[in-house]
Symmetry: D3
Subunit: 175 residues, 6 copies
């Protein structure tokens, strides 16, 4: 399968935070943002491979800025790397200030999808080619994140997770 | 603050998977489940501490079983451990078969919340007392998960993450 | 068909009252609560018989406490009695005070469902066995409520409604 | 307060049954219809008295016809009678056949509302004047329904419920 | 096909403006009103012809009055004229004052629908017979609006648009 | 006020057509698309002027392609021209084929907004500078559309609508 650029999977969503999306502090519910990020990421994964995709996992997500009612929120999703039938997607969330201010990064999340056929069986996807610095950095990190997930799921021995060891224990790498 | 039992924060939600909640395979969207789990976990955290709580992070979530349209889904959330002003909550998701079959575990997720006052400032929460085997196991694991999150955020040195080292590299522990 | 306990059909739903659920006094719309109670009761009836169930009627429902925006509402539904293919279900609604207070009973409603096959034809359901005092009291009352409904629908003569006469005209019973 | 005609409170709502409104038989959920009827009845009560109204109770509702997905449903609500600060409202539900057929009555329900001021305290409402045969019949029946509700709530002795005795036990009336 | 009266297609919808329907000024979003008007107009067109109808175009819509949160909005749609397989529908929007005030016209819009068969192919519809003054005026105007639309779409020469010339350039008509 | 480029107001929204968004042919409701276009256009107008904007009018919208359930729809809105306190916004709608096909233009609409202050009074907005060919063409057309709207509203004499006369009656222009 011929590889695709990261930028070909760029998916942009713009949402307004409505009253039903907010908690008692009148800020956006975390769960509503998780749902928007999943939808944006799924479309991005679909654009990369042209297949039905199903959410496989959500990596560690940290909520950094409270997002008040009435805010305009922009989500940008891009495929960062693929493995056989799975696709890792980064979602960057930006908050637009109501009064002309510059937009600020409010959140970042990593979702993993599996491409499936009409019966739900996994199916191979094209590789992705990173171009910019941040695309390359996310591409490299994907392998470490995958090793971490496999170890946590008991499907890989820590000794084989060479990339991950380098991340956590830089001194040991030289041994 | 006087501690509370895990069982005091038990929160149960029952949902039916409606057509708008499903993808092209007629299975539940991952993002919709993430949103339900967040809401259930937030109520559980609120029951433990009686304060407004905001989602701080979502730990690694794996989607195990596809959940078809029309399914009855039951979510059970419980506070597993607290740290100063943060609360870790486990959500167990069960799928009820449409025809009398026994319910099956479909998913498990871990959310972290921060308790805040009316101005959004962090505020201390009571400790939690695990009783059953699984409650104790989740209580112990919470420390390792917290160390992992701190390392990933660059806020802790790997050398200080004694609990985490034991998880990933059991042989090193003895050194 | 082997009978089932009332407790086997217990169904719990937890909801937060969002802005769109409220009237101009910022209290929960009665209609929204009716809809939640119906859904909770339908799942309870389904759990008892494992069949598709359709709402047949709603008995007298009184709204006792106003439920303000932001409240956490818990619904508990249980099958109280069955008649051939119909199931009577009680729904108890509790209001959780936002600040640590004990929960209060806010409402109580009785729904009747009919179990149907895939073509919509009525189908027999298992009997239910009441155990606690309140379960027995609701089980006994179900017969009177059924007689009242049949008379109101013109399908039973008042003279045959022996249980109902006892309720309304206790002195006549002895005759 | 000057009385108003029943027809002045007529409120018409037209709805389409969408996929999310239906059960596994692809028919309208009872709970969704209960919610629409409440909203339509509340606007009718509001039109009669010009006040905020809150749902006080729902009388016996029977679901007669299944209403399939895609149906056009018309609701008509009218105030049938008032008592001090409460208003009884009838809702008639009609089902429009998709292919040119005449509309059929699908359901009928009776809701009771209480008019309140901005603080939620009950406030007096104008009387209603029935004109047509059916309006008069519903006006008369309202008193019997009110007596039944008071007896069921333990707020009236059966001996005082003269209207109700006539309904249930016509022969006793002559005594 | 036998013609129908305008009044036979009258469709009434009543809506309450909920918090999620409003912008930062707490007035109804224009887009939400556009959506309600389309639904009301589509049911009216369907009632006229008994066929599936799809929105073909929306003519110039002006929003005249802001509609605040909590308002009761009434929409009335009527078929004004038909052309082969297309139907022009007028929607009048009324705003009901919260405190007993008389209702005011808040908006007016014109939608055009095409009647189609199950495969989506256009299908002929019955003519409409205007009766009142306003019905006749709207019937006559429909031809000019159609000519304007055809010219804007490049499907008619301005010289052939005799009705439209009369509207814009009354003096030229006499030539 | 310093002018802004058209591209600075570009707003992108991506939506999936869910079951509740579709008619009996399983295609997107026109009204749902009108609502999405209004929201996207309003954010674009807001980005241009940094003010609250309210929908003033919708120009002729033609629905060209049916959009089936499950489709991914992309909306792109840009401010095309401003007049004192009003902003004309073009929305282009694209349909993404489910299986890797190239995206196709499905619709185009023109909305007009008015920028207002916190009290709802009109407020001046910056001019816009068109750069590309299509931006210039839309900028020029905006004046003709404005004259057409003013004539239709009876606020301009046809003799003063020089731009519009040129559009409809090219031969007369030379006189």
């Amino acid at each position: 399968m011929s590889p695709k650029k990261v930028s070909e999977s760029l998916t942009v969503m713009t949402e307004i935070v409505l009253p039903n999306d907010t908690n008692n502090l009148k800020n956006l519910f975390g769960g509503q943002l998780l749902s928007w990020m999943d939808r944006c990421a799924a479309i991005s994964a679909h654009r990369h491979c042209g297949r039905i995709v199903v959410t496989a996992s959500v990596n560690n997500v940290s909520f950094q800025l409270p997002i008040p009612e009435g805010s305009i929120v922009t989500l940008e999703a891009r495929v960062s790397r693929t493995f056989t039938s799975s696709l890792e997607v980064f979602v960057d969330v930006f908050l637009e200030k109501n009064a002309k201010g510059a937009r600020r990064k409010a959140n970042e999340a990593i979702y993993t999808f599996v491409a499936v056929d009409q019966l739900g069986n996994p199916i191979q996807v094209p590789p992705v080619v990173p171009e910019s610095e941040i695309e390359k950095s996310r591409f490299d990190g994907a392998l470490r994140r995958r090793q971490l997930a496999l170890i946590l799921a008991g499907k890989m021995s820590p000794n084989d997770a060479t990339e991950l060891r380098a991340l956590f224990f830089p001194n040991e790498k030289q041994n």
